[in-house]
């Protein structure tokens, strides 16, 4: 437990020791700001009927952040340590592979949450100036946050896996981005299989990230996507652990 806490702190602070962390935070901040700019122009002084979060979600920058943040945050986790050789000093310290994987994942997810934090003040500011006295909708905001956290968790664990498989950060980022975008594009799968209504069509309908996120942004928390995302996270983390252990049977 002590080793886990030590590792977690080191991994989390590593984002702030180099420029990477600040660059990612600034980029996300810029995109969130742009989203709100576009959103407000689109509404153009009309009163909003839907929750603010839904309006924010409808701007496509949202997905850009969601898809890019994971690979960028996770690419260095294992790949950098392998490239510089610090992986050897790390793994010869009395820590278990599981502790290392969990600490790196948790730190990356924590940093991911930090990058999303500016969204909350943005929502509050926009609410302050657009709604005429209506109370702030905490429910949809919380469920949007949950959606962002859960989908992010899948992408971060996927990024961990990609980073654990290679010593090149570029390859790690490319692989996790490719799979992340691929997963996202499954959202459109249901449009291509509507003709036949077998199990495949039903499965395709369940895999729509866009639809899940729409629900979350509207304030609806469906357990099915929650279970899906948690399962995927656990699966990718398991594979990451196996990849880290992999050096033993190579």
């Amino acid at each position: 437990m002590r080793a886990f806490a030590t590792l977690l702190r080191r991994e989390f602070s590593a984002y702030f020791l180099s420029l990477t962390g600040y660059v990612i935070i600034s980029a996300v901040l810029l995109l969130i700001g742009l989203s709100f700019l576009l959103m407000l122009r689109a509404f153009n002084n009309d009163t909003l009927n839907a929750p603010l979060t839904e309006g924010f979600y409808s701007v496509m920058f949202f997905w850009l952040i969601l898809l890019l943040a994971g690979p960028l945050i996770t690419m260095r986790l294992f790949a950098q340590e392998k490239a510089t050789g610090t992986f050897e000093t790390l793994m010869t310290a009395p820590v278990s592979d599981r502790q290392v994987v969990l600490a790196k994942y948790t730190a990356a997810l924590g940093f991911y949450v930090v990058t999303w934090l500016p969204l909350l003040p943005c929502l509050l500011v926009v609410h302050r100036y657009t709604s005429s006295g209506a109370p702030f909708e905490w429910g949809p905001t919380a469920s949007t946050g949950l959606g962002i956290l859960l989908i992010g968790s899948v992408f971060v664990s996927l990024g961990c896996l990609a980073s654990a498989l290679t010593r090149s950060q570029m390859i790690a980022a490319t692989v996790s981005l490719a799979f992340g975008v691929g997963f996202f594009l499954l959202s459109f799968l249901k449009y291509t299989v509507t003709s036949h209504s077998g199990w495949f069509a039903r499965a395709a309908a369940r895999l729509s990230l866009i639809e899940h996120m729409e629900d979350f942004a509207r304030g609806v928390v469906d357990t099915r996507p929650v279970v899906l995302y948690l399962t995927l996270t656990a699966f990718f983390l398991f594979l990451t652990l196996k990849a880290v252990e992999g050096r033993r049977w190579r």
Binding site: R10, L17, T89
Partner: protein, 321 residues
């Protein structure tokens, strides 16, 4: 503390795919020894060290550190080992003190203990001046000391250093060497190197590796007398060269003699004795008896370098055993 050997390696074999990096290696290291693993690049030194540090498992055979199996009791073994890998990898964006504290905590020391130990190793490794510097801005010599400090921070029984002086300038090498010698009072040390004087100066015992096998393992002194040709005796004598040659050839304790005339009527004689004979008194007596004058008489032991070159030449392997 139990008194068994610090390291026991039995029939250790490590294969990477089809390539056999370490082939059936066995050796033991007693507590408190400084032992050098010596061999050309690719001889399997780093692989053996990685197995001992529980980074890689062996393909066959066993390795024990302080009686604990490196595979089954990896965690306990890691607590007893301070390992500095080849090229001494560090986190360049951390500060020296911060890094050492992180490592101390990672190795299971609590906060007060880690603070105390970091202070001790910072002092011991001469890092007090740079404790607040960022590691990436340090010179290579200082980085090497940071690596050493990291290896020492949890007071391990066994310190494993893979090529600790590689890439350092002569001053830095001297400093690191002194540091290692100081360590030996309290710890068992295993060093690898392909630089021979390095091993010769710091280690009591050498294990010579070649192509993944142990070619020779003995104390430096024993290796010199067992494998070396006992060195040479050099004498500068004022006498005619022919007469000197005849004289040395007549002696049955001299295996080979070379006589080269130098200035002022002196001849420089390089004599190779038969095994186990010290030629110096004999030479002195001969010179005195004949009434010649002598201005130099010295003995140069075979260096580890001679031994190493002999041992690692593939065609000479069979001579040894």
């Amino acid at each position: 503390m139990n008194s068994g050997p610090m390291i026991e390696v039995e029939n250790l074999t490590k294969r990477y795919g089809r390539h056999t990096a370490v082939n059936n290696v066995s050796f033991t290291v007693a507590r408190g020894e400084i032992v050098g693993l010596l061999g050309p690049n690719g001889a399997g030194k780093s692989t053996i060290m990685r197995v001992l540090a529980c980074f890689l498992p062996a393909t066959e055979g066993t390795a024990r550190v302080a009686g604990l199996d490196v595979f089954h009791a990896a965690d306990a073994v890691r607590r007893r080992i301070g390992y500095m890998p080849e090229n001494n990898p560090l986190y360049p964006d951390m500060r020296v003190r911060e890094y050492l504290k992180f490592r101390a905590r990672l190795k299971g020391l609590d906060v007060p203990r880690s603070r105390e130990r970091v202070d001790v190793v910072t002092e011991q490794c001469g890092l007090a001046d740079v404790a607040q510097r960022i590691i990436g801005t340090l010179s290579k010599g200082y980085r090497q000391r940071v690596g050493l400090a990291d290896a020492l921070v949890h007071e391990p029984d066994l310190i494993i250093l893979d090529e600790p002086t590689i890439g350092l300038d002569p001053h830095q090498i001297r400093a690191v060497r002194q540091l290692i010698k100081d360590l030996a009072r309290k710890h068992t040390v295993l060093i690898s190197s392909h630089i021979l004087p390095e091993i010769e100066l710091t280690c009591q015992r050498v294990i010579i590796l070649y192509q993944g096998r142990v070619l020779a393992a003995d104390s430096t002194a024993d290796l010199q007398s067992r494998l070396g040709r006992n060195g040479e005796v050099v004498a500068e004598v004022a006498a005619p060269a022919d007469e000197l040659r005849r004289c040395w050839e007549a002696m049955d304790t001299v295996e080979h003699a070379e006589v080269i005339p130098v200035k002022d009527g002196y001849c420089r004689c390089t004599l190779v004795p038969r095994a186990g004979v010290d030629l110096r008194p004999v030479v002195f007596q001969t010179v005195v008896d004949r009434g010649w004058s002598l201005r130099e008489l010295s003995h140069s032991p075979a260096t580890l370098e001679d031994i190493f070159v002999r041992v690692t030449r593939p065609d000479r392997e069979e001579d040894l055993f």
